[in-house]
Symmetry: C2
Subunit: 393 residues, 2 copies
Amino acid sequence: MGLSGEVAIIGAGAIKFGENFTQSYFDMVEEAARTALADAGIEPERVEAAWLGTCYAYDYTTEGNAGTSLAEPLGLYGIPISRVANYCATGMDAVRNAALAIAAGEYDVALVVGAEKMRDVEPRGSLVAQHVERGHPVYAKGRTAPGQFALLATRYFEVYGNAREEMALVAVKNHANGALNPRAHFQKPVTVEQVLNAPEVAAPLGLLDCCPTTDGAAAVVLARTSVAKQITDRYAVIRGISLAVTSGYFNAQFDPTWGFTGFASTQKAAAAAYKQAGITDPRREIDVAEVHDCFTITELLNYEDLGFCGPGEARRLIREGVTQLGGDLPVNTSGGLKACGHPIGASGVRMVVDIVDQLWGRAGKRQVAGARTGLAHTLGGPGAVASVAVISA
Amino acid sequence: MGLSGEVAIIGAGAIKFGENFTQSYFDMVEEAARTALADAGIEPERVEAAWLGTCYAYDYTTEGNAGTSLAEPLGLYGIPISRVANYCATGMDAVRNAALAIAAGEYDVALVVGAEKMRDVEPRGSLVAQHVERGHPVYAKGRTAPGQFALLATRYFEVYGNAREEMALVAVKNHANGALNPRAHFQKPVTVEQVLNAPEVAAPLGLLDCCPTTDGAAAVVLARTSVAKQITDRYAVIRGISLAVTSGYFNAQFDPTWGFTGFASTQKAAAAAYKQAGITDPRREIDVAEVHDCFTITELLNYEDLGFCGPGEARRLIREGVTQLGGDLPVNTSGGLKACGHPIGASGVRMVVDIVDQLWGRAGKRQVAGARTGLAHTLGGPGAVASVAVISA
């Protein structure tokens, strides 16, 4: 049976995302974990195994490189704690590995924490600057994330027409949602005009088309579904959780057949998760989604890659308001990476937390009425790594 | 049932360990993976999921930070590939996560590769120097691995009597075994006198009491046991594989009750693996073992922590020749970390490969006659992370 329903979520929590100079990495991990454990109504001693998702240990902090970075802040000693890193899909892959372990019958209850401390960087410079200094083959050529995703935008424009305004609508929607989310990094709305007139980062991407760098941590408590039912009446079931690694746009083996207007990784991860979950029509069967909007163009591509609409139809989807609060399939009701920020190892776990909040009817002003099935999606690194989870109340 | 026998190893391979300036990280990963796949007699397309163990991505190379670093050298696209990092237990934890996924029923065949490229360091300096530069709280105080493990040696001497010569006997044994192993970094024997007279690193540890830094990669192919039987007649069953994270010797929560003469992590990991495997008397039931001899003192402590002898009896065990080739329980017939070297993410996988070679009767001059059950053990970071596997033919 594996990942098709055997694993449930019984607790979820996240800290306030943002520029966090008052908490260490350990403080963030501890607060997220304790929030999720309290939400599950269990003591830390009940946790039989744990997974930590942090992508760039040592680049930002000396913590996060091993399971000890989760054990120490919680005093959670003596159990197995793995650390997973997989570009921006790190958090979701930590959830996936934990879910596999529970599905294996090896543990009844597991804790997953995703965390990344990105703002507290010493004068040595940014992540990109560090990697350039160390001879990174891609960053050293100036091919940073905005520069790469900009190419996808221009290609998309070429194939399907200019989507500059629709990209702005993504930013407007996600900032509006973030303004309703007390955990978001940015909690103020922006207008189409502000997005279009923001300083250019890599044409056609402006500053407000890009997610910020952020400190954050999020956690979920998993249990075998049969055990979850004994612990609580309030649980959500992981109906599917997948990971797909493909060649990225940096790579000589890059496959141009998909036309540079989407990501094969997302398409494959979605197909795998939908198969596990028995989803045949995601547009109808998914009630709410958190997707990887590292840049506004990415959210549009995700709509198509995830099957929320057909190729070239993303512009129409955002224009018609389908993905806004009150629409038929609200996307990034949390504010997404755009407003929550993107602490790399935390984001995937944070998405699962936000979906759980929706399924449990506690999303406040962002609540999607009657949400029963949610989707979370992260896309990593050079577009080569994607993970999709389908979760139902 | 979980990890108690549901998962089998159907292929195993490793590259020559050493100072490897002729292969890139990708070259090493590819050679190890292709060797293991050829050993299993399957094509790469048969692999449904994979796990990569590399501990220090970016410190040594720009590769190894995500599943893409395993996908790209093999062209193994479209499947899930996770990356695991957990100090020196990285490789074993990659095997463990893969085994859990197979036990979950999610995949029939999985590939695990452990790799670390450590010798090809730019003039910016060693791992320790880099971490000091970045403000590492422990290394910055000069508390390097030799300095820390030296304290365990002096404490052990205080409690159980001077073991300096027995430490030398560990080096002599492991170098003698390495001399028979064409994959070992060091393939020459050393004498007790050479060990005792080697330059001092951190008293009482001399140069020949320390494992070297090494380039290396190793791989295993796992399959559900029921599937393994369909593919091949020659497989080994993982009867148990565990991970335990405890407080390490760097930590304020360090538990002194175990007396600084062993590692609680190893003890807990061993207890968990023995329970999974149904091992009640490891001294009798284990035929051959690969244990984490990062320093000679560590191998002595491991004997006691793994239950090969009682507390304080390790000196007698090595003196009586029990753990040498031809003894009752040969340990580190590969040469161990001492002679093979210790490419961090690779070591745990390499140990499993060496145990499989013994169980399949292909260990050459190092063969332990009639070996039916083997143990692999890694100890990570500040002594806080340990993993133990029990494997039977």
